[in-house]
C-alpha cells in the first residue's frame, strides 16, 4: 500500500521527525517506500565492489565513438 501524499502540518511533522532523534527510523521507512531498501538487498558480485580509490564513481565520460571499445 502506497503512503498518502504529505503536505502542510503533516509534512512539517515528518521533517521534524527526520531531523530529530528518530531520524534513522523514519529514514528506514522512506528506504522502503522509495525502493532504496530493495536495491540495497541486491547482492553485489565480487567484481562489483567499487574500490573508490581505483575506479571512478559516476558516469565517467564515454570515450568518443572513434576510440570506443564498449558502450559502457
Amino acid at each position: 500500500m502506497q503512503p498518502p501524499p504529505l503536505s502542510g502540518r503533516a509534512l512539517r511533522a515528518v521533517v521534524s521527525v527526520v531531523e530529530g532523534p528518530a531520524g534513522a527510523a523514519a529514514y528506514a521507512l522512506v528506504k522502503r517506500e522509495a525502493g532504496i531498501a530493495a536495491a540495497l538487498e541486491l547482492p553485489l558480485e565480487a567484481h562489483e565492489g567499487p574500490p573508490p580509490s581505483q575506479r571512478p564513481i559516476g558516469p565517467a565520460p564515454y570515450a568518443p565513438p572513434s576510440t570506443r571499445e564498449g558502450a559502457a
Partner: protein
C-alpha cells in the same frame, strides 16, 4: 508561438520580425502570470526588447547572427543568465544579478536567441512534480490546470507548452527535462553526459545532472544541441567529449528509422499505467511501420533505478547544499528540506552500493544496446498527478507519485546515455503522455532521427493545451 524554424521563415520573408515576436511572447507570459500560470521568476523584458530590435535590423539587412536569431527563450532559474539572479527556486539565495552567462546560455545568445528571463523550478531541482510554494507558486499544467506541470524544470516546460516561447533551457538530474516535457506534451532531450557543458549551473555539481532543451519541435531540439554542445575549456564533465557534429544531427531529422532496432523490456513497461503504456506502444508501432524493428531485451536492474537514483542524487545534493541546509532550512520547501535531511542520513556504504549497481546498470544497458540502436520505454509511468491546494502551503512529499514519475527517467541519468521524450497523446484527452527513447553514448543523432520520424508521421505531436497563446 511557432517553432524557431517557422519563425525563421517568417523573419526571412518579412512576415514577422523578432521585435514583434518577442513583444508577443512577453505579452503572453505576462497574461499567463495574471491568470495563475506564472512561469517567469525574474524577467529581463526591456533588455530582451532591445535585443529583439537589434535582431530585427539584422534580419532586414539579411545577416542574422545564427539559426536562433530573434527567437525568444527562457532559462531555468538555476542556470546563470548575466544580469539576473540565480536562485535555483529558493527564497534565500541572493537576488543580486550574476555577472556571466552559463556556457549554454552564452552560446544560445551568440546564435541570436533572446532571453526573456529565468523560469520557475522545483526548489534546488529536488522534485519531479514542479510544485513550488514560493512567490510565483506552481506553474499550472496548461493542459489541465488541476494537475502538476512536472519538474524540476516546470516553468520551462509550461512556457513552451502554452506557446509563449518556442524552446527553453532546462536541466535534468533524475528526469527534470523529460518529466515536465512529457507531462506538458512537448519535446525534451537529455543529451549524453558531458555533451553540453554544465558551466554556470552550479546545481549540476554531482554525477547525474545534464543541461538540455524543451521545445515545440524536434528540429529546434536538434538545433539547440548543435548550438550548445562541445567542451568549453572549463567544464570538467564535458572535457574529453567528442566534437559536436551538427551536420549529423540535422541530417538525422530526415533519415528515418528504416532498419533501426528498438529494444523493449516488456517487464519494464508492465509498471506503467495501462493507458500510458498503450499510447507509447502505439508510437512504437508507428516506428515499426516506418521500418524499425522491435527486439526484446532484459535490463533487470532497471526496476531499481529509482532507488539507486534517489540515493545518488539526494546524497550528492545533501553534500552540495550542506551549508544551505544549515543556514536556510527553515525557509526551504518542506519537501526539499525533507529530501536534504534524508540525504544526511544516508551512509557511505549505501552510496557506494548504489554506485556498484549503477555500473551494473550501465553494463546491462550496453548489452541491450549492442543488438539495438535505441531502447524504448514510457517517459513516466503515469500522466500528470493532481496539484492539491495544500501542496502550495509548504510543498508536498508524495513518494508514490515521485516513484511513478522517475520510474523510467533515472536510467538515463545513472548511465549518462542520451534520452529524448516525445509527446504521443493525451490520457483522457487532457493529460499528455511522453514516450522515451534512449540511445547509445554520443548517439543523439539516432534519438533525433526516431523523434523526427514520429513527428513527421504524426505519431507524436505537440497538441494545443487548454491554456494556449498562439
Amino acid at each position: 508561438m511557432s517553432t524557431v524554424s517557422t519563425l525563421r521563415e517568417r523573419f526571412r520573408s518579412g512576415e514577422s520580425t523578432p521585435a514583434a515576436e518577442v513583444e508577443r511572447a512577453i505579452g503572453a507570459l505576462r497574461h499567463a502570470a495574471s491568470r495563475g500560470h506564472a512561469t517567469i521568476r525574474d524577467g529581463c523584458f526591456e533588455r530582451a526588447m532591445r535585443e529583439a530590435e537589434a535582431a530585427t535590423l539584422r534580419w532586414k539587412a539579411g545577416c542574422p547572427l545564427g539559426p536562433f536569431d530573434g527567437a525568444p527563450t527562457a532559462v531555468k532559474d538555476e542556470c546563470d543568465v548575466e544580469g539576473l539572479p540565480t536562485r535555483a527556486g529558493t527564497v534565500y539565495r541572493s537576488a543580486l544579478p550574476v555577472a556571466r552567462d552559463a556556457t549554454a546560455v552564452a552560446r544560445l545568445r551568440a546564435a541570436g536567441a533572446v532571453v526573456l528571463g529565468k523560469t520557475v523550478q522545483h526548489e534546488l531541482g529536488l522534485g519531479a512534480t514542479g510544485i513550488s510554494p514560493h512567490e510565483t507558486k506552481t506553474p499550472r499544467n496548461p493542459h489541465d490546470p488541476s494537475r502538476v506541470p512536472g519538474g524540476s524544470s516546470s516553468g520551462s516546460a509550461v512556457a513552451v507548452a502554452m506557446g509563449a516561447i518556442p524552446f527553453a533551457v532546462a536541466s535534468d538530474g533524475g528526469g527534470s527535462v523529460r518529466i515536465p516535457a512529457a507531462l506538458c506534451g512537448v519535446w525534451g532531450l537529455k543529451p549524453t553526459w558531458g555533451r553540453v557543458p554544465n558551466t554556470g549551473d552550479d546545481n549540476l555539481n554531482g554525477t547525474v545532472g545534464h543541461l538540455g532543451p524543451i521545445a515545440r519541435s524536434v528540429e529546434d531540439v536538434a538545433e539547440f544541441l548543435a548550438i550548445t554542445a562541445g567542451h568549453d575549456g572549463r567544464c570538467p564533465v564535458s572535457e574529453g567529449s567528442p566534437d559536436p557534429d551538427p551536420a549529423a544531427w540535422r541530417r538525422a531529422l530526415t533519415r528515418g528509422v528504416k532498419g533501426l532496432k528498438i529494444a523493449v523490456d516488456d517487464s519494464e513497461w508492465a509498471d506503467a499505467d495501462p493507458t500510458v503504456a498503450f499510447l507509447c506502444d502505439e508510437a512504437l508501432r508507428a516506428l515499426e511501420r516506418e521500418g524499425a524493428t522491435r527486439v526484446k531485451v532484459k535490463v533487470p536492474t532497471a526496476r531499481h533505478a529509482g532507488g539507486i537514483g534517489f540515493v545518488t542524487m539526494v546524497a550528492e545534493a545533501a553534500m552540495g547544499h550542506a551549508e544551505e541546509w544549515e543556514r536556510h532550512r527553515e525557509v526551504m520547501s518542506a519537501d526539499v528540506r525533507l529530501a536534504l535531511s534524508l540525504g544526511r542520513l544516508m551512509s557511505s556504504r549505501e552510496y557506494l552500493h548504489m554506485q556498484a549497481l549503477r555500473q551494473r546498470l550501465r553494463r546491462e544497458m550496453a548489452e541491450a544496446l549492442t543488438g539495438a540502436e535505441l531502447y524504448a520505454t514510457p517517459t513516466t509511468a503515469v500522466a500528470a498527478p493532481p496539484l492539491r491546494p495544500a501542496a502550495e502551503v509548504c510543498g508536498e512529499s508524495d513518494q508514490a507519485s515521485t516513484n511513478a514519475l522517475v520510474r523510467f527517467t533515472f536510467l538515463g541519468n545513472l548511465t549518462g546515455l542520451p534520452a529524448g521524450t516525445a509527446p504521443v497523446g493525451r490520457q483522457g484527452g487532457h493529460a499528455p503522455v511522453g514516450f522515451q527513447l534512449t540511445g547509445r553514448p554520443w548517439d543523439e543523432a539516432t534519438v533525433l532521427a526516431a523523434m523526427a520520424a514520429m513527428e513527421r508521421s504524426g505519431a507524436a505531436r505537440v497538441e494545443q493545451p487548454a491554456v494556449f497563446y498562439p
